[in-house]
């Protein structure tokens, strides 16, 4: 599904968008540009709100065992006994958000859900980023037929809308686990990162600061590691931040389609929303509302931060 960055769909246009983005965010300038960007970022309320949201969920995820009132997989007799076909108990003493359809403590599951959701999102993004960056760097550095081959492969991957590609990948896997979901969502982003890095390297190869470094006799390896990669990485980090939001939304969509993690004990917001939340919407809408709200807020946090970073790094906005 195409999301804020607009970077999740077809070939030619995706490519153009990525290249555009690259040109904007990986411009020349180095340290002073970064410091500048950091200052503008801190002054931008959108960035602050985004970072605060991310931090909040991060803290909840890390300290889940301390924050959560109960074990997220334990079934409580006082809850299970009150489960019927058309009612799931709401808030009671000791269970502030009531029960889930299996008599587990919903509040605890929401809190542990932060862990699992961030885990899926971070891993999917990181795997996509690392493989993409590696491919892109190889393509950019090697050039020639290696470059052509890698780029044609990304073309084919970009020929399918991203969520459809993820659906296809999970559907073609023999069985689905949490890892199929993570890998499918990650693979979708590989071509995006690969093109981003390659485009950025190519653009920089001809840029003034690299030419200047070369003219000064800086070694080729040092030019790549000290001058080109740091500049490209800012673009990659921005893209990763935006990708994260899409990743957890795509993971939720896969769960909804029945392609998610089959482990019924897993407390992950996408699963909670896409499976139970939707199924029991009329019985107890909170089962959908809470995970949905959490997903929206996390996605919002990452989108806000990512877009503010991109804006801050855009030399056009430098004043």
């Amino acid at each position: 599904m195409t999301r804020p960055g607009g970077i999740a769909t077809l070939a030619e246009h995706k490519r153009r968008r990525i290249d555009e983005l690259t040109a904007r965010t990986s411009g020349t300038g180095g340290v002073s540009l970064l410091r500048d960007a950091g200052r503008r970022l801190r002054r931008n309320p959108a960035a602050v709100v985004g970072a605060a949201l991310i931090l909040l969920f991060l803290v909840i995820a890390i300290f889940a065992p301390l924050v959560a009132p109960h074990d997220p997989v334990q079934r409580f007799p006082e809850l299970t006994s009150r489960l019927t076909v058309d009612s799931i108990p709401g808030a009671t003493a000791g269970h502030p958000l009531g029960s889930d359809p299996l008599g587990r403590d919903f509040a605890s599951r929401m809190i542990y859900g932060a862990r699992q959701t961030l885990f899926v999102g971070v891993l999917a993004t990181l795997i996509g980023l690392l493989s993409g960056v590696l491919l892109g760097a190889v393509a950019g550095a090697a050039g020639g037929w290696v470059d052509v081959l890698i780029m044609r492969i990304t073309d084919v991957m970009l020929a399918l809308p991203s969520l459809l590609l993820a659906i296809t990948l999970v559907a073609l896997a023999s069985e689905s686990t949490q890892w199929t979901v993570i890998v499918a969502v990650a693979v979708v982003n590989v071509p995006v990162f690969a093109r981003l890095l390659r485009g950025s390297m190519l653009a920089q190869r001809e840029s003034d600061h690299v030419l200047a470094a070369r003219a000064l006799g800086v070694r080729g390896r040092d030019i790549v590691t000290r001058h080109m990669l740091p500049n490209s990485l800012t673009a990659v980090i921005v893209q990763a931040t935006l990708t994260f939001a899409v990743a957890i939304l795509d993971a939720a969509a896969l769960s909804f389609l029945g392609l998610g993690d089959p482990d019924i004990n897993r407390a992950e917001w996408g699963l909670m929303l896409g499976v139970d939340g939707v199924r029991y919407l009329e019985v107890r809408p909170e089962l959908a509302y809470f995970p949905a709200a959490a997903i929206i807020l996390v996605a919002l946090g990452f989108t806000l931060l990512g877009e503010s970073m991109r804006e801050a790094l855009d030399p056009k906005n430098r004043r």
Partner: protein, 335 residues
Amino acid sequence: MVRVVLRRLIQLGVTLIALMTLIFFWLRNLPGGPVDALLGERATPQTRETLIRALGYDQPIWVQYWRFVRNVVTGDLGNSIRTGEPVTAVISRAFPATVELALAAIVIAVGLGIPLGYLAARHRGRLLDNATIVVTLIGISIPIFFLGYLLKDWLTQGAHVFPPSGRISTGAGNTDVTGFFVLDGLLTREWDASADALWHLVLPAVTLATIPLAIIVRITRASVLDVLDEDYIRTADAKGLRDATIRRRHVLRNALLPVVTTIGLQTGALLAGAVLTEKVYNWGGLGTLITDSISGSRDYPVLQALILLAAFVFIVVNLLVDLSYAVIDPRVRVR
């Protein structure tokens, strides 16, 4: 121009063939292979043997591949495992439903998105602009299947404003001409049927339009702001042109260029979104078909055809967008 189109068409062909090949080899290498998918695990060795021979899986892989390619090119996509019907029949039955839904969503997204984005840009920094930014941000952060259920829950259950699912009421007697129910009603003068189909279309179309709408609003807004900063707008102001002329002739035209590209890209979001939306509203189009062919045992022939179709549609739409781009932007025309 002709050469550009030709090159893109060749690219399209190459991409489709590569995709086809990938799917073919992937399926052949699944643990258990497609035979297990067809028969399930409990089949006797004899039935397996018969089926393997019947499907030609005893042949060398390149013979199988060649046969597969020949079949696809001639339009024979095999039979659905679930229903036994030819895949082409299954797909062409579902196709109009999805096209109808997607078109309605595009109309909503473009029709509302461009004016809203433009208004937000003109009111930069004021209430309308800020409200637009917040709402569209939520629009791109909300899981759309959840939004679909919300709308359904609020507007069909209690209030009974809209029908909860399906494309048309049972017994609303519609003669099937084109498969597009709204259009069929108009063609056969069954106005009621047409209105009923339109009524069914509202919620799914709104749900599906959400993300493209939010994105088009944001792109339009950003693009208009960019253009307002351009030197040629200052020139137009220095000429003393009327505000309306500047807006229409100088701002809008330039601001719409990136929006056109975005609309093409959003077809991808629509194809993916249709899978989710159709499941929520039980729409019975291609999205439903995908969901059906992946739930439980996979219906590989259908799935594979749908993937190829999606890639084909997506690439062709974007080719068309590129061409229309060349029409509005003279700088592209020359190149």
